[in-house]
Structure formats: structure tokens, C-alpha cells
Amino acid sequence: MREYTNTGNKDTRSGFGEGLSELGRNNKKIVALCADLAGSLKMNDFAKENPDRFIQVGVAEANMIGIAAGLTIGGKIPFTGTFANFSTGRVYDQIRQSVAYSSKNVKICASHAGITLGEDGATHQILEDIGLMKMLPGMTVINTCDFNQTKLATIAIAEYDGPVYLRFGRPKVPNFTPENFDFKIGKGVLLQEGNHVTIIATGHLVWESLEASIKLQEFGIESEIINIHTIKPLDEEIIIKSAKKTGAVVSAEEHNFLGGLGESISRTLSLNHPVPQEFIATNDTFGESGTPSELMKKYRLDSNSIVEAVKKVISRKK
């Protein structure tokens, strides 16, 4: 059993901002675009240091995606930044045709994803974006869990040639990924070994899963915890291996159960090694205003809900 230390709460979007700034200093091909949310996306340092490579497009996301696609003609590596809702649903056809189908090396970086956006409410809390993006052929989909992982992912996607959707969030959450962690696109992370159940989590739900595993110890349940940061392409090997070992899986994500990580895991399991699975995800619903922690509790995305799901899935084992 490994232990993870929270080195202090930080927002994942700041991890993106720091990663982007580092890229800006080291790679002149990087161009950042923003649709009137540079402050929220923590892109101001990049903009200050690289004014010629920062493009403020205004409140015009469709144009931003098109410009980003065009910048690749000439070898640039564009990073677009806006909220997850405006990064995906609003511009789906632009991404589909000008980016994905055109195999453009565009990095769509999306903050304020999911319900933890909080008080702004359902108009801004997209819970469908992972599904939208993972359905696009050739699109890599990454949902990071903390500040350090987001920073590492931001740097890693610049090295990868192809369209990427990078999803992160607004609230300050525990930062526990080691600074020097070797982040690999498409490679799941075995955070903790256990024999009774596998919890496979992405994004903000990773820390909740670690919290849940401590509570589960009181019931004599040892949880294996896997962090899937890359939802597509999915690290099937790590999932199948763990399912064979524990015989029960709980998936955990800040997203609708339809179209999310949980469904991708179900497909992998049903094709390779079927075991009972429970889903920690929103239940085909829109969100609402509230604080992130209130919303996590109400929509059953917190550690207590994971504990309940684990007990249920273990009871379903044959």
C-alpha cells in the first residue's frame, strides 16, 4: 500500500497555465489562442512572455478553432483555451471537420469542466464533453487529476503529433502527483495495490478515490486504485490485469455515465474479462449552482459515494 501526500491544494487550470508558459519558453512553434478567458485559463503569463504567439480571438470560439486549424499549416502547434463547454459542444462541427477529420495538430485545452465549476450553474457545467470528444476518430482525450499532472500533461501533448482534448477544472484540489512523474499519454497509473476491488478514476475523482480507500480499510476492504488520465486511447492492459486480480470494478468520473470513462471501461471488460462494475458519474442529468463540495455530495461524486459503490460491487461478485 502506497501513500499519497497532498502537497497543498491547487487548481488544475494553474497547472495548465504553468505548463503552457514553460512550453512557450522552450518551443517557438507553440501558439496559444483564447476566447476572452485568458485570466480564467491562467494564460496571462504566456501572453505576457510571448505577445506575438498569443492570439486573443474574443468571444468567438468557432473562429478560434478554425484559426487554430489554419495555424498548423506552416507548422505551428496551437493550444486553444476556453471553458470545457465552449471548447466542445459549442464548436463540435468545427473540431470534427477542421481539426479531427483534417488530422490537425491542435490542442484543445478546456478548463472549468464538470460540475465543480460550481456557482455558475448548468449552462457552464458540461458533463458530456468526454463523450463528445472520444467519439471523434483520431482524437486523444485526457482528463487530469491535479496541478502537477495537468502541468505534465500540457507539456506532453506538445510532443505528440495529433489532435488532443485536454480537460481540467476550476477548484483548488489536492496536489499529489510527484513533480517529476513520468507522464505518458495513454498509460494508466497504478496508484495503490489492493485485492478486493479496483477503483478506476479520472480527474477530480482520483483524490476522492484515494480518500474512499482509507474509509474502506475500516471495513477490511483493500482497494486497487488506477488513475486513467488518458481516456482515449485507453490503457486496456492495466484495466484487464487489475479486473482479473480483484474481480470487481468501480469507475469514477465527473461526467455523465453516458459517454464517459466508465463506458469505455465496460466495453474493455465485456470484450476481455467481464466483471461486475458500478459507476460513479452523473446520472444523465444537468448540474446546478452550488459550491463544488456541495455539488459533489449531491450528485454522488464524493468519497462516501465511492465507498457505497465499492460495497455494492463487491456484493455482486460471484
Binding site: V57, A60, G66, A69, G70, I73, G74, K76, Q97, S103
Partner: protein, 279 residues
């Protein structure tokens, strides 16, 4: 205009008609209307390199936003040597690089972006122009859009952005044929006075009254080139006749997206004699 280019006009028209006929689908009307433009653009205006490179560095970049006029695009690309002429036979057929709407997905030389879903090309062309500026690349970006396509709101985001950011290495040519699938643009959704609209959006606007006259196209595009690098984006409003060169296809939206039958093809081809050889 050169006799060779006049001959090419007839041949490209024949390519368009034969391509759409052989698969009984495709868009001949807009393709025929822009034939003279494509011929002048690729023979007299565009500085391009072969073999084709997707980055288009230190050469002019041409992008097509109204992707449905792919027949004329494919014809000119093959006739200019981007790919083998015989590949035109595969248009819209299974396992072809010549998709119904153009795409770079299958690495067809000459194509740098997919288009078909309308209203996206102008934004892409701005990105390509910005890329050239960042690369200190003195060459230009050209984009062709339709007129019906301007009903898509994204274009107006792009018009606003291009002037605010002084994208002056970009020439946007707008094919004003006044027709779209459901009828004339004035009936479907009137675009109004486009010249005034684009001027008020901060663009330098140049008009081609006879967009099927190669001399005039050449003269005006040359003027458009001279108007670049003056801190304003340049738009060329090009009035064309949809279906130009085939009498029964002219001045109507009816041939926007349907192919001629055997008999109609024969009549259409009889009006456009073979010159430099069919594919």
C-alpha cells in the same frame, strides 16, 4: 488570355461534367461557375511548389471553403500536376482519395484542410495567414468561399477578427453566383449589400463584375495582390454565373447539386469540345 488557358477551360468543364455524371452525384453548377477562376488562380496568380507540401512554407496557400465544388478543384489540381489525371475516375467512388467533399485525410496532394460543412474556411485561412506572419513568410493565403455560405455566422466572427488584427496577407474571394440549394440567395436569406457590409467590417473590397472572364479575373486578382500588406484584409467579390458554359445549366440553382443524365451529358459536352484530352 492565352489560347492554352482557353483550351483548359473547355477541358476542365468536360472533367466536371464527366466526373459528376459517372457517379450520378456531385455539384456541377458552382464548379462550372468557378472554372475560369481556378484556371487563372493556378496558372497566373498562385505561386505554388510541386511536389506538394502540407505546411506550404514559402509558397502561396490556397484553401477552398465551399468544398462542394470539389469537381473543379480536383480537375485543376490534377491538370496542374498535383496528382495523376486518371485519379479523376475515382471521384466519389469507394476507396478513393477524391471524396465528395475535399479532404486532406487521405493525403491527396493539393488539399490542406477538409471542407464541406460550410463557413469554416475563412477562419482556417486566417490561421494560415497568421502562421505565415509568424514564420516571416512573405507569400500569401487565398481562400474561396461561396455566397450562400456567408449565412453561416462563423464567417462574420472571422471578418471581424481579420480586420481587427490587420491580417493583410490574406485574399478572400467570394463567389457571388447568387444561388444556393433552395433558390436564389436573395430569396433564401438575403445577404444584402455585401460590398458595404465588408467595407464596414474594415476590409479592402474589390469587385469582379465578370467572374467568368479570365482577363478580368487576372486583372482584378493582380490588383488584389497589390492591395495586400497594407494593414487590411482583402476581399474580392466575384460575380459568376452558376453552370457557366452549359446553356441549360446557367443562371439557375437547379444544377447546384445534381448530375446530368446520359442525354444531358451529351448535349453539355457538345457545347465544350475536347481540347487537351479527356481523363
Amino acid at each position: 488570355m492565352d489560347k492554352d488557358l482557353n483550351n483548359l477551360v473547355y477541358q476542365v468543364r468536360r472533367d466536371i461534367l464527366r466526373m459528376v455524371h459517372q457517379v450520378n452525384s456531385g455539384h456541377p453548377g458552382g464548379s462550372l461557375g468557378c472554372t475560369e477562376f481556378f484556371i487563372v488562380m493556378f496558372n497566373k496568380i498562385l505561386n505554388f511548389n510541386l511536389p506538394f507540401s502540407k505546411d506550404g512554407i514559402n509558397e502561396d496557400v490556397f484553401l477552398l471553403s465551399n468544398g462542394h465544388i470539389s469537381p473543379v478543384y480536383y480537375s485543376i489540381l490534377s491538370r496542374m500536376g498535383f496528382f495523376e489525371l486518371n485519379e479523376l475516375k475515382t471521384f466519389r467512388k469507394i476507396n478513393s482519395r477524391l471524396q465528395g467533399h475535399p479532404t486532406n485525410h487521405d493525403n491527396l496532394p493539393g488539399i490542406r484542410i477538409s471542407s464541406g460543412s460550410l463557413g469554416q474556411g475563412l477562419s482556417v485561412s486566417i490561421g494560415a495567414a497568421l502562421s505565415k506572419k509568424l514564420n516571416n513568410d512573405e507569400s500569401l493565403v487565398y481562400v474561396l468561399t461561396g455566397d450562400g455560405e456567408l449565412q453561416e455566422g462563423q464567417n462574420w466572427e472571422a471578418f471581424m477578427f481579420a480586420s481587427a488584427n490587420k491580417i493583410d496577407n490574406l485574399i478572400a474571394v467570394i463567389d457571388l453566383n447568387g444561388q444556393q440549394i433552395d433558390g436564389s440567395t436573395s430569396d433564401v436569406l438575403d445577404i444584402g449589400n455585401l460590398y458595404d457590409k465588408l467595407c464596414s467590417f474594415g476590409w479592402e473590397v474589390i469587385e469582379i463584375e465578370e467572374g467568368n472572364n479570365m482577363e478580368e479575373i487576372f486583372k482584378t486578382l493582380t490588383k488584389a495582390k497589390e492591395s495586400t500588406r497594407k494593414r487590411k484584409p482583402v476581399a474580392v467579390l466575384m460575380k459568376t454565373i452558376m453552370g457557366n458554359g452549359v446553356d441549360f445549366m446557367m443562371h439557375t440553382h437547379k444544377w447546384h447539386g445534381i448530375a446530368p443524365n446520359d442525354e444531358q451529358l451529351e448535349i453539355a459536352l457538345s457545347q465544350n469540345a475536347e481540347t487537351i484530352g479527356d481523363y
